[in-house]
Symmetry: none
Amino acid sequence: MSQNSPLDLRVRRTRKLLRDALVALIAEHGYEAVRISDVCDRAMINRATFYRHFADKGHLLVHCMDDVFEDLQQRINPPPRRAEEIDLSAGYQNIVTLFTHVSEHAAFYRVMLGEAGAGAFRSRIQQILERVLEQRWEQARHAHRHPPRLAPALTLRYQTTAMIGLIQWWVEQGCAETPLAMAQAALDLMLHGVGWAFGLDEALIAANITV
Amino acid sequence: MSQNSPLDLRVRRTRKLLRDALVALIAEHGYEAVRISDVCDRAMINRATFYRHFADKGHLLVHCMDDVFEDLQQRINPPPRRAEEIDLSAGYQNIVTLFTHVSEHAAFYRVMLGEAGAGAFRSRIQQILERVLEQRWEQARHAHRHPPRLAPALTLRYQTTAMIGLIQWWVEQGCAETPLAMAQAALDLMLHGVGWAFGLDEALIAANITV
Amino acid sequence: MSQNSPLDLRVRRTRKLLRDALVALIAEHGYEAVRISDVCDRAMINRATFYRHFADKGHLLVHCMDDVFEDLQQRINPPPRRAEEIDLSAGYQNIVTLFTHVSEHAAFYRVMLGEAGAGAFRSRIQQILERVLEQRWEQARHAHRHPPRLAPALTLRYQTTAMIGLIQWWVEQGCAETPLAMAQAALDLMLHGVGWAFGLDEALIAANITV
Amino acid sequence: MSQNSPLDLRVRRTRKLLRDALVALIAEHGYEAVRISDVCDRAMINRATFYRHFADKGHLLVHCMDDVFEDLQQRINPPPRRAEEIDLSAGYQNIVTLFTHVSEHAAFYRVMLGEAGAGAFRSRIQQILERVLEQRWEQARHAHRHPPRLAPALTLRYQTTAMIGLIQWWVEQGCAETPLAMAQAALDLMLHGVGWAFGLDEALIAANITV
DNA sequence: ACGTAAGCGAGACGGTACGTCGCGTCTTACC
DNA sequence: GGTAAGACGCGACGTACCGTCTCGCTTACGT
């Protein structure tokens, strides 16, 4: 039997060691501060070998992100096949899944979304969330009574960056709340707005719409 | 005493040249890609002189950010002196001011919030917004009928990161909308939520609250 | 014994390919510039296979030199069996043989004696010539009227390096002269000196001996 | 007073340290075996600084050779201004000067002419000697009774390489003989030939000319 | 002739040196 | 006294070549 695995065992081992070392070091010192030689030392991989696999630190980072996001995509992506179930519970499920996934990579998310993280990470997860949210919105379109009240692109950006903010806050707190609680909070904020969350009186809110 | 007199003209000139050069170069190549020697070349300042004023690139960046945020703080910070005017119009005014300020530094915001920007910038503006929003929320507290429905820290983070997302989206579009339109959109999203913006039926929203 | 049986066909083939490749590449780029991987590419031999046969580039070079010098030794070495024939014609014959041999490996000699050649080659051929010349001198000793007028070691070195100089000059010229002409010139220089070759007057030479 | 010296003191110091280190290390390990980092370590110069002065090892070597050969050229070059003194004593003086110079750089010559030396050195000194000898031969031309009996280029090469052989032999012996003795031997070999030095009978030599 | 031990191709890997780049410090000379 | 010019130590970078090491395949040799 010839091994039909795509890559030599040694190759996979080397890449995994490098990935793990990078993640650990970013968590310790931040992305920019990590030197390729540090990664190699930690991974116990020769520096020349690093360059046989990745052109530079950024490529290894992408490799790491692929690792994380692949997991996320596989759990979130499958959209509801039966278009009739337009309730938001599927969306809620997705949000729960998202927070669960985050909690499983909490350390990575904490540092990557932090000040010392890599901008590429934030923009990539933002795109992923945007794509997912847009898809769901497209599928739910016929259930709407009204046309969109604001430019969808704007709304999408608002919601996705806000979600990332929630995630960042949560992992900074050490994931104190359960993923379900976070998902519920996210859904509430999405549906009722920040004013509601702050406890503003509905009448006050309604009154100020016209301002 | 000459100590507290405004700095030597040459010093101020040098620092301004360096600031301008850094901003221009970040806009062209991104923060990390900018070399101190590039900044000096652009500013036509000797590299040794740079080090007489700033310890490193980060310190110059802080200097630049101070320049921008000082402007913002001065326009936004003054809280409503008369606590009785608890209408949201003051908040709305603040938001207009914010977007106006952003439009005046659009290039800077675009690159600094982008993938190639500096993480420090994003986190700093986030803190500023959080502080302002928190202040306003504290002042408006007695006007609320209800206690906060979600943890205020969470809500704050949600709203401020969402605002930054809006800003980023806006400057990426070239500030096509007016600051007033953006402020109105921001306020609407804040008060009515994303579901409303997407045009979801209120009944549907209400129904799913219980999910 | 299988040990001294001629080597496996594959082994001989591999070594020959490597030898030829090295010689060709030295001729093209000089000894130091040749990389082992270049040799392997040219020879269409895997690099790992190279190391199964030679420890490094130097060992392959020695292998190549053995190839060349073995030919030379076999043609020059057999000293005059009958000690009575002490005429110089046998020495002359040897010199003719030497230049003939050189002409048959002209390309190799040209590059190996040139600036980009291997020092080991020059010193090895120098030793060979020195051994041959010393042998002949020992055999011709009883025909001398006089004891050596200069330290034999010095004279030997003078003559052998001069011969190598002649060879180098000749191959650099593309072996324009016949081997016989070169041998005659070498013998003339050996017997009559450089002054004579330049056409200096004998009286002048004699006069200046005392200087 | 502005210093009219061509180079900053630090620059000259750095280059001298590197030169000395290279010479010492070549003497110890041979040219090819010397690593640039070795040179820098020995010279207590940072490796990056090396590259600010020399593109590679070869350029530093040339710098070293210039140092040595400049000395030689200045002592040997000035040709006899008064063309009437065509005796060979001036040539003899030159040869004495050459050997004296060599004895002052004996270690350098020993290793550079040895197997581990640099081919460039040998070929460069060969060219220098050739140029000097050719000059003298041109100036002495009208004193000759006869036209050259062999191609001057060939004779030049013979003599210069032989001289280098003598030099190499001498420094290998630790310069046991005096420079004067070596110069006399060189002149004798030049004027009377190798056969004479070996003590061959003149009649024998004469008889074999016709061979 | 044919099974087997060898020679061999492929290529990952650890290592060492290379030449380059940018940083931050320092000295020197100028104005 | 501030500045220009630039040498210097430092350390990371990305590249190149070396020599070693599996792991299978195939090929010449010995019985």
